[in-house]
Symmetry: C3
Subunit: 346 residues, 3 copies
């Protein structure tokens, strides 16, 4: 997964930034300040890591402009070291090359269209009408139902399931165990039993979306569930039917979004947040981890509802006091009345 050593001069020529120190220094690998050894390039995003910078064994480091002189090591000084690091990392650790072709144990319908440059892993099953774009790589054991479309340059890791008629854009990355397009949870109560509502919509995923391991996105009931371009979904997220997630929104792991909720663009949703159904969340809204959203949110801003952990005896007292809040409130009103009486008497 690594390649030939790169000169610092080459990096700066390619990605910009100011080079301080020997331009001929070569790096082969990226590493944290603590984990770096000879030949490694590291990076520091914030002055608080100066002690680790002082102790690092890295061959060179990427620094923000404010930390230009915080070390004597060869260094690249730039506006945003984390972004710079990301660009260098992509160069040093390119995705593995894939061998075009259909693996021997894959089962591909003759009525599916597979680009010649695509790579179909062992044990994949692709139904009729599916269309697989250029340079797509499917890991082993993927299942694509009838009429599924996968855009060019996408990579599905092992064991991804895409139900019929769902659409993935270009350059999507889908991790193992993801299920796209299972039936939404739609049942009508009918005399003590649940009557299943057929789920006939699709899931439509835009370009440059990444979907983490074991995440599930349900197909729409009648309309589609839509994940717009550039959305990043972490692991074990559940997205209900008919949701729409706006472009470039990032959602951390274990979050659940109930059906028919629309989330705006450029939002950030913390881990294990839960968002009720049929809500509208605006653009650039930040939802804290573990927060429960039960009403629509229009204004950009940060929203929370989680209570941090406390030592158990203290917490039990707090819960008891919370339960007694009504009594406290009544008592307060009574004291106020008695106090007003005393005040009048004078």
């Amino acid at each position: 997964m690594t390649r030939d050593p790169l000169r610092l001069a080459d990096l700066v020529a390619r990605f910009g930034g100011e080079l301080v120190g020997d331009p001929e220094v070569r790096v082969t690998r990226l590493a944290t300040l603590r984990g770096a050894g000879p030949g490694d390039l590291s990076f520091m995003t914030h002055a608080k890591y100066r002690p680790e910078l002082g102790a690092t064994r890295a061959a060179a480091v990427i620094l923000p402009e404010s930390e230009r002189d915080a070390t004597a090591l060869p260094r690249i000084v730039c506006r945003d070291p984390y972004v710079y690091f990301a660009r260098v990392a992509s160069l040093l650790s390119p995705p593995p090359r894939i061998a075009p072709g259909i693996a021997t144990t894959a089962v591909v319908s003759p009525d599916a269209e597979i680009a010649p440059s695509a790579s179909i892993g062992q044990g994949c099953v692709i139904e009729r009408g599916a269309r697989i774009g250029d340079d797509v790589a499917l890991g082993p054991g993927c299942f694509l139902g009838e009429d599924v479309t996968i855009g060019p340059g996408s990579r599905l890791h092992a064991r991804v399931t895409v139900y019929p008629r769902c659409v993935l854009g270009a350059r999507t990355i889908v991790h193992s165990g993801v299920v796209i397009g299972a039936d939404g949870f739609g049942f009508a109560p009918d005399g003590g039993r649940w009557l299943k509502i057929p789920q006939t919509g699709r899931v439509v995923v835009g370009d440059d979306v990444e979907i983490g391991a074991n995440t599930t996105i349900d197909r729409g009931a009648l309309d589609d569930t839509v994940i717009e371009e550039g959305v990043k979904l972490d692991n074990q997220i559940q997205i209900g039917h008919n949701c729409r997630i706006g472009a470039h929104t990032a959602v951390a792991g274990c979050t659940g979004i109930a059906g028919s909720t629309t989330i705006g663009r450029h939002c950030m949703i913390g881990g294990a947040a839960m968002i009720s159904g049929h809500l509208e969340i605006g653009d650039r809204v930040v939802i804290g981890g573990g927060t429960w959203v039960t009403r629509s949110i229009e204004a950009a801003g940060t929203y929370l509802s989680v209570i941090p952990a406390t030592e158990s005896r203290e917490w039990r007292r707090t819960v008891a006091l919370l339960r007694g809040l009504e009594r406290m409130s009544d008592k307060l009103r009574e004291l106020e009345r008695r106090l007003a009486e005393l005040e009048q008497q004078r």
Copy 2:
């Protein structure tokens, strides 16, 4: 997934309701009021959607009796439009026909009993002693362990895993990534290490149960884990060993139910609810989304514990005040004492 156009007259003949307008109008598809176009049948469940009813391009609509005259469109008037819609949807979008037989790359033990009408997808693995009923459809890549039983008419989507000896009833629907019968989380502490307790019970799933994508149901430790008939489980639910979920209970996504808990019949459990182990929840109990149930609940009713999201600064103040509740309570008691003193002095 759609079929020949249906006349409104045919629908009313089949499902009842009052037909107002041209009985010869034909519909091919169901759609939301907003999404509908010519040839589509839509429905309205509540007066609040009248603006959308006014703007719909649907060919006909299903309405509740109270909204009989809310439109001039051809319409079917009935008691419960959602149930009516569900019935029509099942007629218009029947499940895909399956081709009986065992796919070429499936591996089926000669000691398994497979009904001739069953369809076994590519790459399925079925161990000895398994029994697959009439008209069962297994999607690609399912694994059924030794002595698993799948009742007639059941449909397992791609990549479902059923561990040995588990039993599924008739007409069950199981979505991709579901794991039924993995070991329960049972360990005895033994001198700083954990001693595994063999999990020798089964999972027994009743008729007409639906299980959502990536849900997990653990096998019992000694006795069985039981999901009774008609239960509907959404995606990414975790059910611990030795639980029993009563008939016709519906559980929304991301919910966790810890081991040995019994839930009654006709309950509704909201998304991401968490229910502790060894509890008894009665019939017709409603648990709100995100609610934590730590004690048994006998009486039918609705139970909550979730705090809705607030703007972050306000929430931080609330948390600080919550932490200071004991001081507030002490202060209140002190004021009361001082006030009583003043009152006595007069």
Copy 3:
């Protein structure tokens, strides 16, 4: 899964304890006090189960020393009946024997090293450089990426995915649907888009670890994600990149641990707990179910933050009072001021 009947005398010879009653009594199966029938061995851990002990039909029971005389049944009296039960259970229900060899539909790279005693299930795909130790059993449909190592005696159930270069120790048990080594959730914000950070670390899992169904453990960004020996992870847990979970820590289902958090040894984490990123949790810390940990915890002890469910009207009042806490606090301060004024006037 069961074997020949065992004499009580044999059990005591093997596992210790005091035998009271007929040593020739034979047992074939373990069962709960309620579920037991003739030929079954049951156990009681606590005096509160005496009514069930009185009614059991078990052939013999395992009891704690304090309950030595609570029954007239043949019995084994010992210090810890649950541990004793676990040991007997392992003897009565040994893991199924596996047949060494590579199944016909498995696809194994010629450049992988597979121990002759290992069993590779149908449809498994094993990439080059992988090393599979002695007596390893892979269920059907597992995928092991390049250079994956699986230690001796490990058992991966059906459909486990291990991304390239990850390492599992000896005697690990991994349940179906688990994904080990997917990319961590690492993106740098770059002008309104998210730039992917290549995730080049590994997941390293120690000996005797068990991982529950559909759990996901992400690979490290640069360094490794580490699960130390003896850790037990339940189902549907999400562990972010660069976490370290200390030896013999147990984590219950649905828990999420965000990236770069270190958890100590011998901790117990309740179900659906959520732990923020970049924290340090000490040894022997107990986190209650559903608790949100947002700060590092040094001291051993129990930490909570969950509010138990209440009847909905009462809960709604509590939430309203919580929202009004600031007003209550202001009011209290005002009353104190007015009271002090009155007190001074006298």
